[in-house]
Chain length 161, copies 2
Amino acid sequence: MPARSAPRPMPASRAGQEPLLALEEFLPYRLNRLADKVSREFSKIYADRHGLTRPEWRTLATLGQFGTMTATEIGAHSSMHKTKVSRAVSALEKRKWLARGIDPLDRRLEHLTLTRAGHAAYRDLVPLMKAHEARLLGRASASERQAIQNAIEVLERALKL
Amino acid sequence: MPARSAPRPMPASRAGQEPLLALEEFLPYRLNRLADKVSREFSKIYADRHGLTRPEWRTLATLGQFGTMTATEIGAHSSMHKTKVSRAVSALEKRKWLARGIDPLDRRLEHLTLTRAGHAAYRDLVPLMKAHEARLLGRASASERQAIQNAIEVLERALKL
DNA sequence: GCTTGATGGTTGCAAATCCAATTGTTACGG
DNA sequence: CCGTAACAATTGGATTTGCAACCATCAAGC
């Protein structure tokens, strides 16, 4: 008696229905690969130059942009989980690039601000980062650059970001 | 309502030195945020349904697409470091979703193939993944979808991916 | 043969990440 | 006021990662 011969739809000839999914055309894969490559290139700058991690750089960048914020606000604006922010803040505080200020009206809050040294690092990094971005986008035409901006906006909207 | 707090000095407090870098307009940040959100949404599918990690899913997807490959080839095609591939392969082998075959002419190589169970999981997942991709892209118009494809291609070219 | 250098794949370990509590504080309904 | 719920931020511990060192095999030159 033939073992395991439940009625199966079709014999094994899988020609014609394969490949079912082409990874290299699959949106999440492509986005991830792009982001990964870009991130690697850019992180080289702040990692080599100041030994920063990505959460630390983002925290620095957010405070550099807004001046003073709480940890929660940093997380909201830079899309980082609060534990990442917390650890990035500790690290930056340890190297005295930011200082914590208390809120007299709500002692749960910590108002974080870059120190002079933190700001110096920020001002050191920003032109390098922008230059690298310009160099990368410079490989595309002006209209292509515009298309990239539009596409990102469409995706951000679709993802409710 | 959030707790009351002392009036927070906004960017205005840094009059004279405008924000040098707006994170929310910075390409690497935006790409990373997009990829992260997308990845999170899609990984819910294979994580919830089969307890797969992303490297495991990518390995499964690559083998499902190409049939038989070596670990190095999987890494090249799915943009994963060889250690990730190695660990994903072990995990998939442990649950008997793939089998290793030796190459009689070069015993360094391992030819990896999905087992029947592995292929079943692949066939189970692919429609769900594609449907989710379609649902996501469905929030954009046809011309916007085309613009997204073009933008990604431009970036891939600029990054030599 | 033997040595040297490349290649495929794994492993050890430190660093980074994630999730679920935990602490301390404030807001609010009774 | 009291008890409870919400909130800001931190911490602990298991999981993932990333890098380098490693083992095994092959290829080429001598």
